[in-house]
Amino acid sequence: MNALAATLDGLQDRILHGDGAIFVRGADAGHRLRIYADAYRLRLVEVLGNDFPATRDALGEEVFAAFVERYLHPHPSTRPSVRHLGSAFADWLESQIDAPRGLHELARFEWLQAATFDAVDASTLAINDIAALAPDAWPQLRLHLHPAARLLDSFRLAIVEGAVTLADVDSPTRWLLWRDADGDVHWRKLEDDEADALHAINRDATFGELCERLATHHGDDAALRAASLLKRWLADGLLAADSIDSH
């Protein structure tokens, strides 16, 4: 298939970079090739615009498209589904000196929303699952976050009219994103103690260690706060059922 590969080399180079050998028939070959090159660029700009709508709006359509075209050079699509095209976009934006400060955080937030939407399914932990736990089992209990739950710490994100957007000034914020039983994605700001506790769970801390962590915020009221947080996490479906199975 050397002849086929050579032909596809040329056509692909024309579409991706506007150069390359061509073996196309007809006098208007240049225009016919341009249709493919334009379609490639427009399609992938649209895909990332759908994945990063707030990032696109922050930049404006034209500037966003220019950023996407630059991104595609070092990060061409390598997976069959366009779903994965934006996986490196936030990190790449962080390295771009002409990107607005903090824009990569907005992109990262949007990417986590997508990751939450179609993360792997798993049963959620229910109150009845933990009600039967013996009191002496609690300190060593290692809770697991549901695979669709995501945590993010940011410096330049804010909530404006109910939507996450780029802040004008530094505004350190900690976020939780999760998916409910109907498949809808939600997010909320976290208080520092809750964020610390959830990060501790992600680092495989025991419930005892989690309470120690909360004690730095709440002193003797740490157990009450732990119970309150646990109740909310269970109601939101943030914990995986295998938190119990693994013990």
Binding site: M1, A3, L4, A5, T7, L8, D9, L11, Q12, I15, L16, F23, V24, R25, G26, D28, A29, H31, R32, L33, R34, I35, Y36, A39, Y40, R43, L44, V47, P76, S77, T78, R79, P80, S81, V82, R83, T116, F117, D118, A119, V120, D121, A122, P147, A148, R179, D182, G183
Partner: protein
């Protein structure tokens, strides 16, 4: 669920999820999913797939198989496709006669192949590998295109026919793509239909197209508009040749409300009823 396709279907799009699920079963006879949209780990896409699979026969239509490319077939993708087929239990699995990946880069487009005997043999060998991996027959769709290669040895109908004959694959005939290519490459669309093997066409797509906004006079396969009159005429011709082939409206952009799409499907039903009656007489 009866896992065969008969009658008239729609390309399943998220904009129609609620209206389809709230409506009667007989609004459509079957649904076609875009396979890649469901190659995800979990969440709503797969939950919705299960709900639709409970009520309607499904077809799986892929865009990333790269059946004609010179990169090796993507084994991980084939495994994912086989897993999805195991879940969706499709009556048909299809993709396009094109290339879509080269040197590891996904183009996310359905790009034309040189139409040569060598490529026929290359594609046929890969079709057999795919059919072995999936455990079922593959259907390949004719793609719309804007260019032809200087080294082409076969016209498009002969190219499709040779691949079907050599590989044993089925054909998914996109009537709009025939219409667009006939215009763009200057061939007779009716003769194209007549040159395809009678027994290989397993499914038909109907869609709309646009005129090149840059003024070249070429037709662009946008799949974002109602089916044009010329495509309906060609559809009737295809039914006269191939008989009652399961047919569907494929709309990829500017998705209208379900009722509007179903009304367009009713046009297909009407043409099929008239044509097949005439064919039987």
């Amino acid at each position: 669920m009866n896992h065969t396709l008969q009658g008239f279907g729609l390309g399943l799009r998220p904009q129609h999820y609620a209206a389809l699920l709230d409506g009667p079963d007989d609004a459509v006879d079957w649904l076609e999913i875009v396979s890649e949209n469901f190659l995800v780990d979990g969440g709503r896409p797969l939950a919705m797939l299960d709900r639709f699979a409970e009520r309607w026969p499904l077809a799986m239509h892929g865009v990333a198989l790269d059946i004609g490319g010179s990169d090796p077939l993507d084994r991980d993708y084939l495994r994912a496709l086989a897993n999805l087929a195991n879940r969706a239990k499709p009556a048909i699995v299809s993709d396009h006669l094109c290339w879509s990946r080269h040197r590891g880069v996904q183009m996310h487009d359905l790009l034309p192949l040189p139409q040569t005997g060598e490529v026929v043999r290359h594609v046929a060998a890969r079709v057999r590998q795919v059919q072995d991996a999936l455990g079922m027959r593959l259907a390949l769709e004719n793609v719309s295109s804007y260019l032809r290669f200087a080294g082409d040895e076969l016209d498009e109908a002969a190219f499709l026919s040779a691949i079907a004959a050599e590989s044993g694959c089925a054909l998914l005939l996109d009537v709009n793509n025939v219409y667009v290519n006939a215009h763009n490459h200057g061939f007779d669309a009716f003769a194209f239909i007549d040159a395809l093997p009678r027994d290989a066409v397993a499914q038909i797509h109907l869609a709309g197209h646009s005129v090149d906004a840059l003024g070249s006079g070429l037709l662009i396969d946008t799949h974002d508009a109602p089916v044009r009159d010329g495509v309906w005429t060609l559809y009737a011709h295809a039914l006269r040749r191939f008989g009652a082939v399961p047919s569907m409206i494929e709309r990829d952009d500017h998705i209208p409300p379900l009722a509007e799409t179903l009304a367009e499907l009713d046009i297909a039903r009407g043409i099929a009823a008239d044509t097949l009656l005439e064919r039987a007489a």
